[in-house]
């Protein structure tokens, strides 16, 4: 589904190039649940951003399906970005001015989903995450775990095939973290491809594949038996 070939990402400083990612070759198949691990600064977030089309400033080739991202027009890339990817952040990144309902609605608005359809999608999601009663609250009125649930609901509202999560449980205590990971497991079981970056080894156990990044290189890449 996704294929990265010789991806280099570096910062040009005065005397030398500092590589953040170096020679990344990676093939991701549909339905995988991949965990990226590694120390801080290893390049996990950068790799996620590149995978999620948020960062286009790198060398190397990125194929989505058969097509090279580089050869796509802006419009196509933007459509790909909209239709295929969902994002979950460590700091939740909900829009403070919007209610739970509206936060979940936002990606649907940008996809020009009709109002009736929006309502039914959001109703399903709220139901699924037991948040119906909280739909009119603002993010500041929710606990961290609840905020991240909204973040997940928002990420999957557009029915993306790939879910990218950057330390989704990093700000949560263990019980909440477990809840989130259970949801990931469910989503994975439904067929969503998930790529998460994390520091917590136990989170990797929910996935099917573990990649260790050190200093911008893939050090190990192993399957995890479930």
């Amino acid at each position: 589904m996704i294929q990265l070939k010789e991806i280099d990402k570096y910062i040009e400083s005065r005397f030398q190039r500092v590589f953040i990612l170096k020679g990344i070759n990676l093939t991701i198949n549909e339905g995988e649940f991949i965990t990226l691990m590694g120390p801080s600064g290893a390049g996990k977030s950068t790799l996620l951003n590149i995978l999620g089309l948020l960062d286009e400033d790198y060398d190397g080739d990125y194929f989505f399906g058969e097509r090279n991202i580089r050869h796509m027009r802006d419009k196509e890339r933007s459509n790909l970005h909209k239709s295929e990817f969902g994002y979950i952040f460590q700091a939740y990144h909900l829009i403070d001015e919007l209610t739970v309902y509206e936060n979940i609605e936002t990606p649907l608005l940008y996809r020009n989903v009709s109002s009736g359809e929006r309502k039914s999608i959001i109703a399903d999601l709220l139901d699924r995450f037991n948040m119906v009663a909280k739909k009119d609250l603002f993010p500041a009125q929710l606990s961290g775990g609840q905020q991240q649930l909204v973040g997940i609901a928002r990420a999957i509202a557009g029915k993306p095939r790939v879910l990218l999560a950057d330390e989704p449980t990093g700000n949560l205590h263990s019980a909440q973290a477990k809840e989130i990971m259970e949801i990931f497991r469910e989503l994975h079981a439904e067929g969503t491809t998930i790529i998460q970056a994390t520091h917590a080894r136990e989170n990797a156990d929910y996935g099917t594949r573990l990649i260790n990044l050190v200093d911008g290189r893939i050090e190990t890449d192993e399957a995890i038996a479930s």
Partner: protein, 799 residues
């Protein structure tokens, strides 16, 4: 989608109260100014466009050429219009207006004693065919066809008879002559150059019964047929002059030409032509229009600056939305909808404010604002357009900046909206350039106004009263004068044709002998006491005495009458004061000798330089008493004078004017310009400072960490102020340079209209720039003080 835009915009605006407040206030003030100025300009432009076929109505002016001097006169002979109607088929109809207030007021008696009225005119029976004002009572079509008929305006009818219906058919005694009220018309609209309370039938007047080619005292109007060609019509006018005035022209050696002026052009046209109502110099409308647009620009710039500054706080939101799939257009829509909402709110607010301030504006500008215009289809369309334009212009730049952010950078808060800094900088420069420029202009206008009030006019205008009196009183006025002198409340009294602030009567002077050239001179008919009453200095020869002949007596008996000339007249004649004394000359057709020479004094507004003036005795032509009061409380003297007047002239009200106040009145339109400039420069500075506050806040926010480090290292509050203000001061300096350039241009252009100019030093420039600079520094200072007070441990910890 739009619903969502609106919802989010509202919440954003609600959340950032200070930001919203500043922007709303700035835009509201700018819009109020814009609407008010637009209404004013529209009002001035709309003059005389309400009559049916107003584009076919023309007024006649004439040009006199005599002795090489060219003179434009806005009145014509009474026979002009009847002749035109008879002989020129392209003339559909025409009318004539004789504005009596040029000469005197009238006394009106409805059975309850005399009222003095000055807005009185004779018009002929075609008046309402040319100017179709609404008739509220009476037989339309035959309102003024008979002698001794009068039409009242609604307001006058109410004043005298309670209602229009009541007034019809009643009798009014006007100057002891009985008139029948044949009808009542609507009040003259504020945007008509015609403005009277009473219109009497011209047939009552002797020139109405027998129209003649002299004198030229009448405003003439014609309405051409729809298919008539104005140019072709005007080309035939010289034949008419030749036919009826040809012989006279040859005999007296003058030339005259009639020309037409569209009625819609009277108010804003040539201001040297006198009119029933003072006109407006179209130049001022342009200036005000530019000011209105500048103020809107400043309001928009404020929004742009503040919104870009705010962008730093919103980059996270923008990043998120992008990650979630928002494309640039969608984000653009979001931010523009915010500015549109704000502009819309400002428009609503400004309408409310205009509603409240309209009465005040009438007092300041002397112009009624027709608020209903704002709610007409045109007005609403204009406002919608304005809101859309302002909203888009204001929202455009911030939206482009915000929607162009790279999402991951925005999310990581690594954003520096450094790009486009020059845009913000040039906007600031522009704002302060406009503020300073307007303030400099205000000071320049003020310098000239002060100069005109304080300049030595060459005569005494303090403690001098003018008491206008009626022509009928000419036989008894001498006794009034003597009685007032006896009362002790008058030091000296002179009878004069005009107040010394505007003497207009034109004469020709012809020295004879070797100097054959004839030239124009202004004549001032007075009695022997003028020189002492207004404190002129006799430079050579003598003042008038009791035994001196009056001009009319001398004329009748073919004797020479004594004349006092001013210095300008002498230099025109090429004589020194000493050699002038006793010289004979032909003055306006009769012989005079130079009895004395007085100093030059300003007998017109300072727009004009001092022209030659000839003063002669002719109390028969006088219609005002000039009373020099002795020192002491003017109120007591006034009371005494009034008692004397009442005792001797019981049927005439005691109306007085102070010469110095009347003099100040000459500069009303300049005062108005000064006041409006002052007001709007204040507004501009206020809005600009608000914008500056926002920008400094933005810079302070960006540099909080730097400032904290400086503070830890020992920077004082002054150092922090210096850090924050140095960039802005450079911009302000640039604005100041531009504003000085503008000021120099403005003083050149505006002062051009005055023959006597104030010396504009560097004062106005320095003080304007200092004022604006000071206000800007206070703004920056306040913000830097707030930054300084932030505890450095807080800002340094997180990084």
């Amino acid at each position: 989608m739009w619903k969502n835009y609106l919802k989010v915009s509202f919440r954003n605006l609600k959340k950032r109260k200070l930001y919203t407040g500043i922007n709303l206030l700035g835009l509201t003030i700018a819009l109020v100014s814009f609407f008010v100025i637009s209404l004013y300009i529209y009002h001035e432009w709309s003059y005389d466009r309400m009559y049916t076929g107003s584009d076919r109505i023309y007024k006649f002016n004439q040009e006199f050429v005599s002795g090489g001097e060219r003179q434009l006169v806005s009145t014509t002979p009474s026979l002009l219009v009847p002749t035109l109607i008879d002989e020129y088929p392209e003339v559909e109809t025409g009318t004539l207006v004789f504005d009596l207030s040029i000469f005197s007021s009238v006394l009106v008696d409805a059975g309850e004693g005399n009222q003095e009225e000055s807005r009185f005119a004779f018009v002929d029976e075609n008046f309402y065919k040319v100017f179709d004002f609404e008739i509220l009572a009476g037989q339309k079509g035959s309102l003024l066809s008979e002698p001794n008929q009068v039409v009242l305006t609604e307001e006058t009818a109410n004043r005298y008879f309670g209602s229009a219906q009541n007034a019809e058919g009643k009798t009014l005694k006007i100057d002891s002559k009985e008139y029948q009220v044949s009808g009542v018309m609507e009040n003259f609209p504020s945007n008509s150059h015609l403005d009277f309370d009473f219109l009497a039938s011209f047939k009552t007047h002797r020139h109405g019964k027998n129209p003649e080619w002299s004198p030229s005292n009448y405003y003439s109007y014609v309405k051409l047929r729809e298919d008539a060609d104005r140019a072709a019509f005007e080309a035939k006018l010289p034949q008419l002059v030749e036919k009826y005035l040809g012989e006279e022209q040859k005999e007296y050696g003058f030339q005259t030409a009639f020309f037409t002026q569209p009625v819609t052009n009277i108010h804003l046209g040539d201001q040297t032509l006198s009119s029933i109502k003072p006109g407006t110099d179209v130049k001022y409308l342009y200036i005000f229009g530019v000011v209105a647009i500048l103020l809107i620009a400043i309001g928009i710039i404020n929004y742009v600056n503040l919104a870009t500054a705010e962008a730093t706080e919103r980059n996270r939101e923008v990043g998120l939305r992008k990650v979630m799939g928002a494309d640039r257009m969608q984000l653009f829509g979001q931010f523009v909808s915010e500015s549109l909402i704000l502009t819309f709110g400002a428009a609503i607010l400004s309408l409310l404010i205009i509603y409240l301030i309209a009465p005040q504006f009438v007092r300041l500008g002397g112009v009624p604002l027709d608020l209903s215009l704002l709610f007409s289809a045109k007005g609403i369309l204009l406002m919608a357009f304005l809101v859309a334009a302002v909203g888009l212009l204001a929202g455009m730049y911030p939206s482009v900046i915000l929607s162009g952010l790279k999402p991951i950078k925005a999310l990581g808060n690594q954003i520096k909206i450094g790009g486009g800094a020059w845009v913000r900088k040039s906007l600031v420069v522009f704002q302060f350039f406009v503020s300073m420029g307007l303030l400099i202009s205000t000071f320049i206008v003020k310098s000239q106004l002060d100069y005109m009030q304080e300049v030595n006019l060459g005569y005494q205008r303090e403690q001098v009263l003018a008491l206008p009196y009626h022509y009928n009183m000419r036989n008894s006025i001498e006794s009034v004068k003597q009685e007032m002198l006896r009362s002790g409340s008058a030091e000296s009294i002179a009878l004069a044709a005009d107040m010394p602030i505007h003497i207009k009567a034109g004469y020709t002077i012809f020295p004879g002998g070797d100097n054959q050239r004839e030239f124009m001179i202004t004549g001032y008919s007075v009695d022997k006491d003028l020189v002492n009453t207004i404190g002129l200095t006799v430079l050579a020869g003598e003042n008038f005495t009791d035994t001196d002949l009056s001009r009319s007596v001398a004329y009748d008996s073919a004797l020479e009458f004594p004349l006092i000339l001013n210095e300008s007249a002498l230099s025109q004649l090429g004589w020194t004061p000493e050699e002038a004394i006793g010289r004979k000359l032909n003055y306006g057709g009769s012989m005079a000798y130079v009895k004395g020479v007085v100093n030059d004094f300003y007998f017109n507004s300072l727009h004009h330089k001092i022209e030659p003036l000839g003063i002669f005795i002719d109390p028969g032509q006088a219609n005002v008493l000039l009373v020099k009061m002795p020192a002491g409380n003017p109120a007591t003297h006034l009371a005494t004078l009034e008692d004397t007047w009442k005792a001797l002239v019981p049927d005439r009200p005691f109306n007085y004017r102070f010469i110095d106040q009347e003099y100040a009145q000459l500069y009303r339109s300049e005062e108005r310009v000064g006041a409006i400039f002052g007001l709007f420069s204040g507004i501009a500075i206020f809005i600009a400072c608000m914008g500056l506050f926002g920008l400094v806040s933005y810079v302070a926010l960006r540099r909080t960490r730097e400032i904290s480090i400086r503070k830890v290292l020992g920077a004082t509050q002054g150092d922090v102020l210096a850090v924050l203000s140095s960039d802005f001061l450079k911009l302000l300096a640039l604005s100041a340079i531009l504003a000085i350039g503008f000021g120099i241009w403005f003083s050149g252009t505006w002062l051009e209209a005055f023959a006597n100019k104030a010396q504009i030093g560097i004062g106005p420039f320095i003080s304007s720039i200092l004022v604006v600079l000071l206000l800007a520094l206070i703004t920056i200072g306040y913000r830097s003080w707030k930054v300084y007070r932030v505890n450095p441990s807080k800002t340094l910890k997180s990084d």
